[in-house]
Each structure stands twice: as structure tokens, then as C-alpha cells.
Point group: D2
Chain length 299, copies 4
């Protein structure tokens, strides 16, 4: 076996799913045989017994791997992948996603295919793809009180049972609109096939340098989703006064008060995903969205 | 002046709006001169001083007016009208809606036009329209723990910042779907131009004997709004386990637990609205929805 | 074998599909053994050789079967079923739909299941369902120049490559709107899951006494689909002047001129569909619309 | 009056609108007094008498003005502006749009304001904005048989009353989908608020380096609009066999045959629009889309 282009691999698994442990264990052995040093992400290690492999926080893997030679292998669903990608994005360590159940939008290698896919990748055969990341702050009285990043989306929404949500949105310091709605989704291309799509948003190709604002149940029917270039500065000011919150990838939450501003920009960092050679984003779309019967493919 | 077809009128005003008091006072004087006995709804009386006219709870007006001769005159917005209609629907006392600001879907007489409109109505010239009402119960362990009625809609939704909402919907005892969404709106024709429309629902003509289920941000794109005949029994079972609630016309709220069932039927009672002669539902639609430039009308 | 509740069956097959002939032949033999007199629809007979069974136009089957004892068995897709239903609706002869390929919305018995399903039906075990039918005329200078009926929909649309389509729609003689769009679909509940759904319309339950107007690519975003009670008279006047047409179930076409009126009403006749016992409309919806993973069903 | 930054202005007017002539005449006199040499676009000159000013084809103005010093002033609606922009885009001559009736998306100066706006522009005070342009070819048997450019959109659609339209779309040589629909709109950001929006597409900010594909009444509900980066090569192959056509900005039309390919790329040229200082795209959006009541603005 020729030398791998990756000397270190850190394994990440979906904690709640017992079955993932076996796959992780097989991958660990296989990589070790291929001469790759295998590390296990700390929380994954806590849930899956992978003897003989050292634990490591993802941020530590990021720091060590910032100059190359490292890869993260994620076994689980899109949520697990999103979590790992958020933590590794600042360091540029690439991720490979293996879905442990149904095909995901970003975990696009099946458990049955991992040997072939990872084998090719170790040999340097892969497609490298960059996904943009949203970074944001909550400003209260002009001072940051919360920070977060998102691979999919940042959502400002009602956090209680009732009440009108009113948001003023400025883009590059210019007023865009006042939105009366259940909420407002600011989504990356990666997030465009997640919550934003449920709310009526378009699909953004991952390589589009843009982001999309999608209102949820807007009062004004002409408040269509709007796609902005990725260099913009989006500021969302909370004009209503109770039960409002913001979340990043539906993982990190903050309560908002009237007058708070959520300030968002695409981050200078990008998450790096590796795909098997010949991978096509459109193939994943077709399968996930049941664009059946296309080109004679099986679904 | 000929004898009025209504011997009693109960006045209802939007409490928060100061300007309404003057219009109510003018209407009261004008009606009294026309030989109509004027009553003032209790909460309205509390906020607007209308000397010489007795207070009355709407339910009391309903009881006294169930055999005819009574009319409720509402000055305010659609919310005020909805509230009064909910309380009077069981008794069949008709309502007239005068909007104190912008045209409403159901408060379709302007403040400038009230004399002409109400004058015609006292003379028996009006269009009588029936609006269906949704009645519902929350069942916990099979026993009712909450009851409500709605003129617009009953909404089961997430009441917290987070969490997947999963609802199983049965229609006449047959499983329809399991809905994964931010929420589910069950709307009357009257409510179809309110929240249900924001969530992507169709317009239902007020005389359609049907109701519509509109999911909010459904995970499955093919979960389109579905219109059911009004005789059906709709049951919504909560399959997720936290931060779920139900509201009736966004006025009456109840928290829901996993396993709770919201049981809904169109009520045997209908709200009765009176409109000036020549009134057309479509004219209101065109104005409210900015179907401009139609038929040469001003907007 | 007990006596069948049907003494006569007329077989209808999709002409273009060769494979249908064998199924038709098997059904014919099976029915004959069960003591049912088997007839073959004329055009079907022309394409599929079914020796020993007399040919019959569907209208003739309708006339003979108007008093009962007849059933039409259709093998093909929804299009074949629509065509047969249009022709039999005036007579009330019931239809059974067997899909020769993929499940249809109205051909809901699989080829694998026909023996069981039809066996039960001959024994009187079925669910009888009525589907409303749209009847229409084209009026030119007030005189009818074309007539048609539709089980799914009547569509007025642009019939050329270019030009603005402008339609004035009156409902019960009252102006509703002037629609600027690619076209306007007037759909029955049966048609609501066909073209109307592609254009953004809601699902109407088959037993809803209503119809829906769905514009295609309306210029005005607030021109939402509108559901009207089934008793209404809908008139569509062509205000633009070239390349406009109307079709009934995409089968019968007429060119329209400026000033022409398309006058539509729900017909007093209804198509009658028979389904196997236990059939649920929602089960078909879930399968056709990929509402997967619902209630643990296979799809 | 200081020297104008533009030495030459070519005037373009909406031919059909008589009232435009007076405004054009006033602008011509005013510019001449300001020392700007005034030319009149040939077709405009044919319809509007502007004595003392030479006629000029727009392409000629483009050639002469490619190095600067020229501006085109368009009086009319968005259609007139689109036509002029298509012809000037290859040369980079900037355009100013004055709407002669209702506010347009790209004719954003009112007739009442033209003196102030153009005065500022002559003094060098304006915002310069670039709009992308779609260029396309129809390939038959691999050979180009038609060429066109579009500021708004290229639309492949059904050109007859009937028939299923089936299109195979490849992006950068990779199969994206087979679309079954009434048609497919490929739109620039400028076109995103035109026909694409009627068909359910998102708004694309004019500075977004992307384009959007929006199906019209797609058979598959999950065939959402998709936004692609502007560098892509989009190829649309006609798989159905009759009554299919393509148009560029709804102005230039070609019939298509089965097997024809429409090959599209964003052009290296961009249309250049000038706006008054302080202009905001969002202000135009809010007014055109009736995002009323925003920020206290009049509408």
C-alpha cells in the first residue's frame, strides 16, 4: 500500500447511535493498518470503546492539523457532521462524512462504501470542496454578549408560544426591510437544503458566493427569499419585546431582548469537505429530493 | 325615521385605541335617536366613557338576543371583531364591523361610512353572512383538559426555542400523516386570509363548507395544504415531548404534553356578520391583497 | 362462488401499452368464470384481442348500465381512467382503476392485487366514492361554440410562445379579479393533485364540495389559489387577443378569441369510483407524495 | 455650470407612448444647454420629433462611447430599458432609466425628478452598478443555429397548447436533472424580480455573482429554484418533440426541435446602470413589492 497523503485521522461518531461504534472500530483498524495514526474525538471516545487510540479534542486536532496531513472522518448523520465541521472550520482540517443510516446532504458516503472511498482518499484521489461558514455576534447596547458560528444557518425566531416577531434588517448599513414573521433564517449554501428549504427558500449551489435570507411565514406575501452576495454585513435588530431567540445551526442558543442586534458575516474560514472522485453535488440532490427517474438512475 | 329592525345594539370597541371612544359615542347617540336601545360591552365601557348606556357582558347580550332584534356593532380591527364574534357565535347575534384604522378582512366598513351603512342596516338592508367556527378540546389520557373555539384558526406549534415538532393527524379516525414541522394550522375559511396564508395556504371562500390544514415550514416539501370537508373530525396527537402548545385565534393558549390529542370539529354554531347592501367578499380581498388595477378600481 | 352484484363488466385498457392486453385477457376470463358478462370498450378491442367478448362504446355501456348492474374496469394509468370516467359520468356507471405501472391517484389497485380486489367487489364489498365533474362552455358573442367536461381540470392558457394573458374572472356574476398570468387552472378535488398542484395549489379532499382556481405564474404574488364552494358559476373572459386556448383534462382543446367567455359549473353528474374495502384516500396520497416514514408504512 | 463628465448623451424613448416625446424634448434641450451633445436613437427619432439632434443607432453610440464620455438616457418602462441595455452591454456605455409611468425595477427615476438626478450625474455624482448579462446559443446537431443575449432571462417553454415539456439540464457537463414542467427560466439577478418571481423564484441581489434556474409548474414538487455561481455553463437539452421554444428577455424567439441544446453562460460584458447618489436597491424593492410600512416610508 502506498503512503497515505494523510498521516493522522481523527474519528468522530454520532454518540447516540450504538451501531456507529462497530463501524468506527473497523475504520480505526483499517486506517492503522494503512499506517495512519488514528485519534478519537473526546466525546466519541467516551461513548465508543476504541482501545489503543488516543483521545483528542477536535480543536486540538485542528491546531495540530492546520498545516496539513490530518483528516477527520465522521460517521453519523448530517447533524454530527455539522458539529464537527463547525469546530474544525477555523483550522482548515478536511472532513469526510459517512452516513450511518440514510444518505445525508453532507454525509454522502454509505457505510457499505467507506473502504473504497477512504482508500481512494488516502491515495490522494478525492474532490475537495469548500463550504462557507456564517459567523455572528449578538450586540446589546452595542457590546457583544454572544458569539457563534454556523455551517447551515442562523435563525432568529419566536421562542415562546405567542407574540408578533418584528425584525429590522440592514444590509451593509442600508435598511432592507422590517420583517413581520415567525422568524428569519440566514442560511449558507450548505443550509439551503435544510430548514431554509422547509420555509420556502431556494437551493444554493455550495460554490455560490452568497447567502440567503428566508422569512418563516412572513406576513407580507411579497417578502420572498432574497439571495445576497457573501461579502455583505447583515444586521438584524429585534423590534419586538419578548420571547425572541437566536440559534446557530439549531445547536447554540441565545435569548434576545428588544433592541438587540444580531450581526452576521460570512467567516474568512471555510469548512473543507472531501468527496470520493467523481462525486457530484447534483447526484446527492437528486437522491435526497426524490428527483426520481432522472437519467435512468436507481433511487 | 321608520322603525329599526334591531331594537337593541351592543357596542364593542378596541380597548387600547383611544380614538375609538369618539366614534362609539357618536354611534351611541345616533342609534339612541333612531330609537334603538344602546348597550355597551363591559370591558369597552371600562375604557370608554359612554354615559347613559348600560353595561352588558357579550354573553348576556347573546342570551337576550338569541331570538332576534339585537345587533353587535364593533369598532376596531379584525382582532376586536374576532373576539366579539367568538363570544356571540353560540347565540347567533349578528355583528357589524367598523374598522377604526386600516380596512380589515372582517371589519369592512370605514369610520367615514358608518352612518350610511348602519342606517341601511337598521332599515333591514344588509347582506347576512355566516362564518364557520372551529371548536376544540385538548384530551389528556382521553379526558378533556382544555376547550376553546376559534373563528380564524387553531394552531399547534412549538412554544420554545428549540426541538422537533412531530404531530400525528387522524381524520375521521383514519391516519392522514405524521407532520414534522414548526407547527400545524387548522383554519376556517375566515382564517384562511390570516396566519394560514402566511404559511402558504390557499384562500377559502367564506361560504365554502370546508377547513384547511396548513403546515408551517414542513420538513417534507410535498406536505401541501389540504382542504377537508367541514364535517370531518380532525385529531392531532403530539408525538414530540417538550415545548408544544396550542392556541385558538392566538388568544387562548394551552401547553401540550406528549400523547395529548387536540380534537377539532366545525361547531354547529356560526358567527353571523352583516354587511352593507352590495357588499362583495371579492372587493375586500382585492383591496387587502393589493390585487390592484383590477376593473379600474381605486385602491 | 356467490352471485356477483355486477352482471356486466366493460373492460377499458390503455391502448398504447402492450402489456395491458394480457392483464385484460386474464380479467376477462376470470370475470366470465364468475358469471359476469364481459364487454370490451371499442377502442380497447381494436388494440387488444379479447376473443369471445363483444365490443361496446362506453356511452352504450353507460346507457345500458344506468340502472345498475354494470361496472367498468380500467387497466392503465390515471389518464386512461380519466378518459373513461369522463364518458361514464353522465350515466353513473361505477369504475374500478387498476394501474398497469406506477400507482396512480385514481388507479389505486396494483396489477398484482386485482383478483383479490375485484373478487371482493363482485361480492359487494367496496367503498363507493363520488367525484365531481366540471362542465363548461365557450361563449362567443354570447353563443356557445364549444362544450366539454373535465374530471381533473379546465385550463385557460397561452397557446403560443409569447404574449401576455389577461383574464377577467367573475364568480356568480360578481367580478373576482383580472388575472395576469401564464394561465388559470380551474380544478376539481380530483384534479387538485395533478396540474393544479404543480402550479402551487392545495390538495382538496375528494369529498370536499368545492373547486379551486390556481393561477400559473401569476404576476401578482398575492394572487393565491382560491377555493370556492361547488355551487358557484365561474366565468372567465379572455381580455388579451392572441394565442389563447382552453382545454378540458388536457384532452379536448379549443382556441379562444378576445372577448370569449369560458363558463364553468360543477356538473349535476358525478363520476363513481369503487375502491377495495378499507381503502383510504390518505394512503394513496402518502404513497404518491412520498410522505414516507409515516406510521411505519413501507413505501 | 461646471463641465459635464459626459460629453455625449443618446436618448431612447418608449415608442408607443406619446407622452414620452415631451419629456425627451425637454431633456434634449436641457442637456444641450449644459453643453452635452445630444443624439437620438434611430427608432426613437422615427416616432418622436426632436429637431436639431442627429439620429444614431445604439450600436453606433456603443462603438463611439466605448472609451467613455457617453451616456444613454432612457425614458419609458423596464421593457424599453432592457432593450437598450441589451444593445449597449457589449460596449459598456452606461444607462440611466427614467420611468414614464409607474416606478420600474430598473427605471428608478421619476419623470418629476429627472432634472435633479441627471444634473447630479453630469456633475459626476452617481452610483455605478453592473448588471450581468446571459448569452446563449441554440445548438442543433452541435452547430449554432441561433444566438441571443438577455438582461433578464432566457426561457425554454412550451410554445403550443399542449404536450409534455421534458428538458435535460447539465451544469458544467454534469447532469443536474430532467425537468418535466411547463418551462424553465434561467434568470440573471436583474430578471429575478420579473418572470422568475412569478414562477416562485427568489430575489437575487444585483451584485450576486450567480444566476437562478426556476421551473414553471414543475411536476416534481421538490424541484425548487436553484441558484448557481455565475461562472457555470448551463446546457438545456430538449427531450420532448413538439411545440417547444426559447426566448431571450421575451423579445427574441426561436423554435426548438427535439435534441436541440440551449447553451448558456454569463457574458463577459455587463450592462452599466447609473443611479442618483444615495440610491438603494432595497428602496426600489420595497416600493415595487409593497413592503409597506417599512421604516416609516411613504409608499
Amino acid at each position: 500500500m502506498p503512503t497515505s497523503v494523510f498521516q493522522h485521522a481523527v474519528l468522530v461518531g454520532k454518540h447516540q447511535a450504538g451501531g456507529v461504534a462497530r463501524t468506527l472500530s473497523e475504520i480505526a483498524s483499517w486506517l492503522a493498518e494503512a499506517g495512519v495514526e488514528v485519534w478519537v474525538e473526546a466525546l466519541t471516545a467516551h461513548h465508543c470503546d476504541l482501545p489503543g487510540h488516543a483521545e483528542l479534542a477536535l480543536e486540538e486536532a485542528g491546531t495540530r492539523g492546520a498545516d496539513g496531513g490530518w483528516v477527520a472522518i465522521v460517521v453519523g448523520g448530517d447533524g454530527t457532521m455539522l458539529g464537527a465541521a463547525r469546530r474544525l472550520a477555523p483550522y482548515g482540517v478536511p472532513l469526510v462524512g459517512i452516513n450511518s443510516g440514510r444518505l445525508g446532504f453532507i454525509t454522502d458516503i454509505t457505510e457499505a462504501d467507506w473502504r473504497q472511498a477512504i482508500g481512494a482518499m488516502l491515495g490522494g484521489h478525492f474532490e475537495r470542496e469548500h463550504r462557507s461558514v456564517l459567523g455572528g455576534q449578538v450586540l446589546r447596547g452595542g457590546r457583544p454578549v454572544f458569539e457563534g458560528i454556523a455551517i447551515n444557518d442562523v435563525v432568529v425566531n419566536r421562542s415562546g408560544a405567542t407574540g408578533l416577531l418584528e425584525l429590522r434588517v440592514d444590509v451593509d448599513g442600508r435598511p432592507m426591510y422590517v420583517q413581520r414573521a415567525d422568524g428569519l433564517i440566514v442560511s449558507t449554501p450548505t443550509g439551503s437544503t435544510a430548514y431554509a428549504m422547509s420555509a420556502g427558500g431556494p437551493i444554493l449551489h455550495p460554490s455560490l458566493p452568497g447567502l440567503v435570507l428566508v422569512p418563516i411565514a412572513a406576513h407580507t406575501l411579497s417578502n420572498r427569499p432574497i439571495v445576497l452576495p457573501e461579502g455583505v454585513h447583515v444586521e438584524i435588530e429585534v423590534m419586538s419585546h419578548k420571547d425572541v431567540g437566536v440559534n446557530f445551526d439549531m445547536q447554540h442558543f441565545a435569548d434576545l431582548l428588544g433592541g438587540d442586534r444580531v450581526s452576521l458575516r460570512i467567516s474568512p474560514h471555510r469548512a473543507v469537505f472531501l468527496h470520493p472522485p467523481g462525486w457530484s453535488y447534483f447526484t446527492t440532490l437528486r437522491k435526497k429530493l426524490h428527483w426520481h427517474e432522472v437519467l435512468g438512475e436507481e433511487d
